[in-house]
Amino acid sequence: MGISTSDKPFLERVADAKQDHFMQAAVAKAQDAQFIKRTRARREMGHWNDWRDLAEQIRQHTLKYLPDYLEMFANNVEKRGGHVFFAQTETEARDFIRELVLAKQAHKVVKSKSMVTNEIELDQTLTALPDVEVLESDLAEFILQEDNWDEPTHIVFPTLHKNRDQIQAEFKKLGYQGDNEPAHMARFVRGYLRNYFMQADFGITGCNFAIADQGMINLDTNEGNADITMAMPKTQVVVMGMERIVPSMKEAEVLDNMLARSAVGQKLTTYCTFAGPKVAGEVDGPDDFWVVILDNGRSRALGTEFEPILQCIRCGACLNVCPIYRHIGGKGYGSIYPGPVGKVLSPILGGYDQFEELPYACSLCAACTETCPVKIPLHELIRKHRIVEMDEKHLDHSMTNLILKMVGVGTGSPALFGTAMKMAHSGAAPFSKPMGKNDVQGMYEGGKINHLPKAAPKLVHGWADLRDIPTPPKSKDNFRHWYQNHHPIEPAPAVKAKEEKADD
């Protein structure tokens, strides 16, 4: 399974998603609300595009020297008395942590939110051990766990698809007797988890950024659960994707600000912590501090045109602007990494066979690229996946079948395109005044027209052309003027060659 969340074929998942009207409405509401919050927070920061340049530079610099920074980090963790294990595969990571739980004779494991632990199926592994209990402490993850480990639907708001009544029903099984008010339910969870925290003997956290020169990790949360997870148990394991590292606290601090603004429209998350193993003389925190650094397919992107996806700081902004995500929600993608980031990352981590449709579930509208705080050219990478897939598969019939299948999704879902058209403007309304150079909204409007390579069958063209117009002109704009400013992206050389061939 790994990053896959479902055995169902893609089209079935999309069909399921279309039936889920609460989910669709919730996703739309979330996207619109986040648009306003995010835009406000970024505008308030000022010079947003220059901040993005800086963030991009930080991420690219770190990736360029990734082995060196990981080595520096590992040395510094060791100096602090911690232990580092480099895991090439998910199996290695999982087995390592299982051995550690057994060696520590831990019985009550508490976790704070971490997508990497989902990637390595850690929960299932540890709950299968005799006398080991595992509890997720992030409110959303806790809700998913209580609903029989339901799949998350968003990387920042995992329970977007659940309403308060469903959550109340889950909590009733745990003895909750109150109404469906979120505040009351959260209060119940506070008490429930606090009891557990007080007994927890093994803590597992993720890592927003590892600080190479200090050997500390940096974690951002709003609930404070990660901090309590690092305070109470005597053993802590940090599980991190190998790319989640920066040179020093300074670079982490820049990204923390950008992450909070991009993810939830806050200036900083409520708790932003730099932590390591307990220092001699301190009373609490982990005596035993372990870091598991995971590759699990990430290195396949290194040195290739897909390397920029490793810049990702998991802010979820690209999901929040994606018209396809709006339509099919997180579960439609069948990967723990949904939305635009998932369309690029899932085929790299999980392989094209498993996720061949994902690069096609995209209108190439470029809204993701324009919102990404670390400037990952998401839609271009999605297009590159298509090119790779075509190269790999065009000799047999599977490619034609795949394209036909996806045309079915497209033509069968006119709403999908309608939403793409409307979105950029409805959410933007409060900010649609003329903007200066550094304005976020101005940036969002720099939409591009892309074209599928002409080598693709004619049938696709009618559909693709429809999808490829991202931001229609505002009625007050002069169409000719708008058109002049929207040039198609220069196709990649490989595509050009194909086009020329097709034209012959």
Binding site: E71, E99, N225, F274
Partner: protein, 243 residues
Amino acid sequence: MTDLLAQANTKANREKFLNHLAQQAGRDRHQVQPFEPLNDLPDQVLANQAPQALLATAKQNSEAVAAKVYLKTSDELASFLDEYLQTIQAKTLLLPGVCEAQWEAYHLADWAGHPQGVTTTVWSPEPADRAQNAQAADQADLAVGFADYLIANTGTITVVTTPAQGRAFNYLPEHYLALVPQSGLVRSTRQAVEKYEAALADGFQTSAINFISGPSNSGDIEMELVVGVHGPVDCAYVIVTDR
């Protein structure tokens, strides 16, 4: 069972992994250059604000994250804290295990010796008292702790874990009140980070540096903001204006 645990911190485990990365990337190892930022935006945050304006910004941004902000001189603190305890109807109080001189710096040595009307526990700096400290923090209605900096741009206070004021101290009590000297007012997260980096370079040791912006909260249920999830349900910054 293979002994994976024994592979942690070994050269073999590390080198195999890192060499593989270098090979995949097609870039040699040990070429790292210092990071030279292409702009100085982090240094420019609120750089144009004079101290008084900065204080007003700090207050506004702190209130925007639902922190309560009070400005007091050290002479006013003792009676203010008594009132505060009454207002929130605290029955149990947790104090850091710092020396008397540190309290006295805020004119609070007498107050901290005998807070009125509450059952008071002092955080024990003895590692053996871990469980007892955790219990006290869990049961405390209010913790009154020391913070280092107040960050104007984000409405954030910063605290570090020390033997006298541990992690549970800052996260478990129901209400949290931080005393922060006005001299600790900084513009940005960048400024605070620089100060901590300098202290660490000077040999200061801590296992956790916390940037805290208001009370714990969550939007996980239908994206409705709920205040007070795992950490404190309420958070006050008392800016000590003559310190």
